[in-house]
Amino acid sequence: MILAEGVVKSFGGRPVLDGLDLTVEPGEAVALFGPNGAGKSTLVRALAGLTRIDRGRILIAGVPVDRSTPELRRRIGLLAHQGFLYDNLSAEENLHFWARLYGVPDREARIRALLRRVGLWAFASDPVRTYSRGMLQRLALARVLLHEPELYLLDEPFTGLDRSGVRLLREILAELVAARRTVVVVSHRPDEVVGICQRFCVLTEGRIRHELRSPQADGAVDGAALVRSLEELVERASASGVGGRRGA
């Protein structure tokens, strides 16, 4: 589903992605970890076609991402740091807008079902500007699920969620994985995604330096041990400084 080869992206002469390679098979769920500035969000935006890369190539479903068509973009769901939500519109109106844009059939029923699913039905008519951080994140999640994409690019989807929100998101992610959707999720906490994702990549200095597989895949380690291993790797990368660069 995703093929990224030798991806290089620099901002102001500083390489954020530095020859990154990543392959994600259809139906696979991959978690990305790494210290701040490691290039996780840049990678997600590049995969969504929002950031032009300097070198290398990114193919989504075999199509170069910089030549993507409306049909291809319809197959991708992006949850970025900002939820792409309009303050002056209600939750329902926001979802209506995105549903129209994505050509979602039977909009009313789909929006109602999703707002109930993310626990926002009671606030459906309230302007989004009155929402808390967690409510915004739930609504942003509903927006991504709206058009039932094949590929989910989720940049720190757990941010701002309370315990029930985290539980809900884990349930939704598990459903997506069970439905053989392709998921790339950026996270800072391994325990949030262990048990859901099959592969765990640690980005440092703009490259994937470590890669672990889930116990379900190879039975080598149990979930808790995997979390510990990942936490150690992320900790070690973070200790190297911003982006995993020593002295940065």
Partner: protein, 225 residues
């Protein structure tokens, strides 16, 4: 999904947001009325200056009120990083432009609907030429101004001081439409011969075609920048 259905979705979203907040139309209409009122104190309506003053006051007010709305329209997209969301969606940048343009055109049209009667009443203005042609001039001038304004507002919002940058970018480029619209309006109000105002109407029509075509080539790159 077609060009028009996605364009309509963006237009609908802007309209809906405006109906809820009344931020853009409310502010721009009040600004236009205050400006007209101020001009009515500066120029004596009783001195028979209407035909000389009204065309200039009309278009200056429309341009500045419109600029407030144009800046606001793009700022809402930048605030939620919604341009990224739109770029990642099936909508093509040209459809985003068209939706934003139509919404801005409607908001500027509302300003004119309120402003023109008040201006005419305050300055005791009258139209000696065909009124329908005056409506056409208003429409042509507004389309051209909003067409380039929507494009440049997208450029300006990516800058830090966007509210300062937009006038600097827009006003020089809008000079042809300003001249054409003011001259055509003045000629129509004075009841001049069709040759007098048709020249300016043609200029406005050509300007509109160019300014509507330009974003089809450039808007994609501006959004992606």
């Amino acid at each position: 999904m077609t060009f028009w259905s996605r364009t309509y979705a963006i237009f609908w979203k802007d309209l809906r947001a405006e109906l809820r907040s009344r931020e853009t139309a409310g502010t721009t209409v009040v600004f236009a009325l205050l400006a007209v009122l101020t001009f009515s104190f500066a120029f004596d309506p009783a001195a028979g200056q209407a035909r000389m003053v009204v065309p200039g006051v009309l278009w200056v007010t429309v341009f500045f009120a419109g600029m407030l709305g144009l800046g606001r329209s793009m700022a809402t997209e930048r605030a939620a990083d919604a341009f990224s969301g739109l770029l990642a969606s099936p909508a093509e940048p040209e459809e985003v432009y068209a939706g934003k343009f139509l919404a801005n055109l409607l908001f500027t049209g509302v300003v004119e609907l309120v402003e023109v009667p008040v201006l005419m009443a305050l300055f005791r203005g009258s139209v000696a030429g065909p009124v329908l042609w005056l409506v056409a001039v208003l429409a042509l001038g507004t389309v051209g101004y909003v067409a380039i304004g929507t494009l440049l507002a997208a450029v300006a919002t990516s800058a830090r001081a966007s509210e300062l940058l937009l006038p600097l970018l827009l006003l020089p480029v809008a000079i042809p439409v300003a001249i054409g619209a003011v001259e055509a309006t003045a000629a129509l109000m004075a009841g001049g011969s069709p040759e007098e105002w048709m020249l300016w109407v043609r200029l406005l029509a050509v300007y509109d075609v160019v300014m509507l075509a330009l974003p089809q080539l450039l808007f994609r790159y501006l959004l992606e920048a």
